[in-house]
Symmetry: none
Subunit: 193 residues, 2 copies
């Protein structure tokens, strides 16, 4: 059964923390016997107990099950689009729009001092921004939010938003646009199907 991985993860986390079953029971509020059964794979814990474990170890719930989620494998390389310029920023298409997923990803580059304002998109469109290098500020809900390298921010794009680079070094950020299923249907009604 796939549940093995849960057992392994729990044991690994516990041993990594250098805790005994009793200590773990004290820490998480899950009985010692239950911990033992989970590690042995004799019982499949409920999410409630999983949550106790996560909280006790100060780990995200996914820490115990994330490996179950790992995808894998084959690939068809994506073509690299040439860099294009708009008025105020440079961008490159990393992953082109795919109607199956309803998303597209760009890599934007902002020189120091540059800013770019984007008009509101259709309702339901969501934007993911992840700062690859440098520091940028993202405008949404009427205020500028500072985002450093490694920060990720998701927001509704059906309102005015924009980006600017307040620093002294070039900044790069990922930009993924999600177009909800409902929008796709309305947009492509009578075309695809």
């Amino acid at each position: 059964m796939k549940d093995e991985k849960i057992r392994i993860n729990l044991k690994a986390v516990r041993q990594k923390a250098g805790l005994s079953l009793a200590q773990t029971a004290e820490l998480t509020g899950v009985s010692k016997a239950m911990l033992h059964q989970i590690e042995r794979g004799d019982s499949s814990p409920t999410i409630a107990t999983l949550w106790k474990l996560a909280k006790g170890f100060h780990l995200p719930l996914t820490a115990f099950i994330e490996d179950l989620v790992q995808t894998t494998d084959t690939f068809a390389p994506a073509e690299k689009e040439p860099t294009r310029f708009r008025e105020s920023l440079t961008f490159r298409t990393v992953f082109p729009f795919d109607p199956l997923f309803g998303s597209e990803t760009f890599l934007h580059t902002l020189e120091p001092g540059q800013s770019h304002a984007s008009d509101p998109h259709d309702t339901g469109v969501v934007e993911d921004v992840f700062v690859v290098a440098g520091t940028i500020e993202v405008l949404h809900d009427g205020e500028w939010k500072a985002c450093q390298q490694g920060d990720g921010i998701r927001f509704r794009a059906d309102q005015p938003h924009g980006y600017r680079n307040p620093g002294s070094n070039p900044a790069q950020f990922h930009n993924t646009m999600h177009y909800p299923k409902t929008n796709l249907y309305q947009a492509s009604k009578g075309k695809n199907e």
Copy 2:
């Protein structure tokens, strides 16, 4: 309790797929009564049950567990505590799974010499990899493909694949999984043995 997320996500996923409780029971192997109790929050499902749901819907376990940001704004700061995954790589969730888009995004970190292999996932699942820093090699069709900083690769994830860092510096890469919505429907017909 935090278990609400499970209930909400399950109901959202089910309704998104346009399935009734009976159809979902048929699809996932979880009884109709139990589905109802889970959605109502009257019972805390077992991971075994959660796994049935995930397999039935061809979705990751995180689809039911991660915060359901029904397209609300999220901010994932870079300083967020990374989740350690075994001995082979470190990652953190940048954008959690959202049933509206059917995708989730992680940020993986590979130390020099580290490698990670993944098991095949459901057909139709597509993975986007974008190298943020350093150099990695991606295993595909039995051969390792070198990917430098700024390279983006999209590939189908229904075959074994893996990542490794052959360089002498740490490497970071984005990892977005797309779970096609069509799977939800196709799975309901003819999937049962």
